[in-house]
Amino acid sequence: MHAIVPPYLLARLAAAPAERFPHAVAAARATLAVPRAYAPMRAHLDLSVDGDALVVSAAPDPDRLISDAENREELPGTPARAEGAAPSGDAAVDEAYDGLGATFTFLWDAFERVGLDGRSGSLAATVHYGRAYDNAFWDGERMVFGDGDGEVFAGFTRSLSVIAHELGHGVIESANGLDYSGQSGALNESIADVFGALADQHHKGQTADAATWLIGAEIFTDAVTGSALRSLAAPGTAYDDDVLGKDPQPSHMRDFVETSGDNGGVHINSGIPNKAFHLVATALGGYAWERAGRIWYLTLVSGTLSTAATFAQFAAATAETAVSEYGEDSEEAVAVRTAWASVGVVEDAASR
């Protein structure tokens, strides 16, 4: 317990006759009523010497738990690898463990965010979900990975962009959330793809111009004609396969897809804000998480974004973030306004 006045002393005071110490008794009762939340967090200290100075820096650590659903569909499954445990030898378990760690490091390094909710390093994933289950999803509390069908999908845990995309949904939910349908749902999907791409680039130390900007490049089998599931650089070009069909993503509002499936096409129309992000990142250059990613992240956690935000509302919010962080006529604010105009979300950037 981390406190100066121990609870038993407060309790004695709270039970004392009120006439004797009226204020103290009332204060003790009020103090005891306040929840004394103690939320321990794993962290590590790095010690180094710089000239005559001892440099101490602290960074949070993740607290990972990978579970095995053993090809059933009950969650969470059997614990398979906890934080700090040695590799299990199960490729899906170990890939998920590494991917969760890399995403945690990215969130801290890029945005000083501790894990998904900003407070706890707790990260949970379940692998081997279902039988030949060709999907990975976020269930509100954890990531869940199928094994893939082995024909189209080779597996999902091998792709850091997939893992970071799913964890990105957790960050979005913690921030305020974006309703998972229509334009707000496509924004939700797009921001998750941005997290996916940035975590991958951060892990590889890639700048915006060197990166592939692909999501899920590693998950297809060799039988599929395609480089990845999605491309932020060129939406609509990621795959063209006789079984899968063609990448349906638009890159401009004029090609916005009205559909009833996929919650109103959240995985399709995400191509438009994805392209906007790519344009900002490549206009500014350098590591994409430092400025473009920061603008997107600050907008997400600003608390002013509606859960039903449209593309236009999000565009305006990112422009406001860029202005408040970098200035009205900054290179960053210009890049943001230009990008949204280029994808047709904003009519005329110059008049804003």
């Binding site: 990975a136 949904h169 995985h267």
Partner: protein, 108 residues
């Protein structure tokens, strides 16, 4: 009331998922085969709005059962219970259909 010789056609369209792919399965049944599927169909809550499970990147399902003039459709957010039983059976007994080949679908 469906004419006795009208075939029963059940189509399942799956969208969403992490990959956002569109896939479909269809089963066409006649006569007593169609009768055998009625309990499966009748167990499903066609009139109730689709409940969506929390999270993201889950599959979404659209189910249609057409028997002559009798047309039942539903969007299923959480494929569990009777919906899951019906969908599993259509996938097992039916054939994969290219989504572009589905009638009445303007979507690619």
């Amino acid at each position: 009331m469906p004419h006795p010789v009208d075939p029963l056609t059940i189509t399942v369209v799956r969208t969403g998922g992490f990959a956002g792919l569109r896939r479909a399965w269809r089963v066409e049944l006649a006569g007593t085969d169609a009768d055998a599927w009625m309990p499966l169909l009748d167990a499903c809550p066609w009139e109730e709005p689709a409940a969506s499970a929390p999270g993201a990147d889950r599959f979404s399902w659209e189910v249609a059962a057409i028997h002559g003039a009798h047309d039942r459709r539903a969007v299923v957010g959480d494929a569990s219970g009777p919906w899951r039983a019906l969908i599993d059976r259509v996938q097992a007994d039916g054939a994969a259909v290219r989504p572009a080949d589905l009638s009445g679908n303007a979507d690619a």
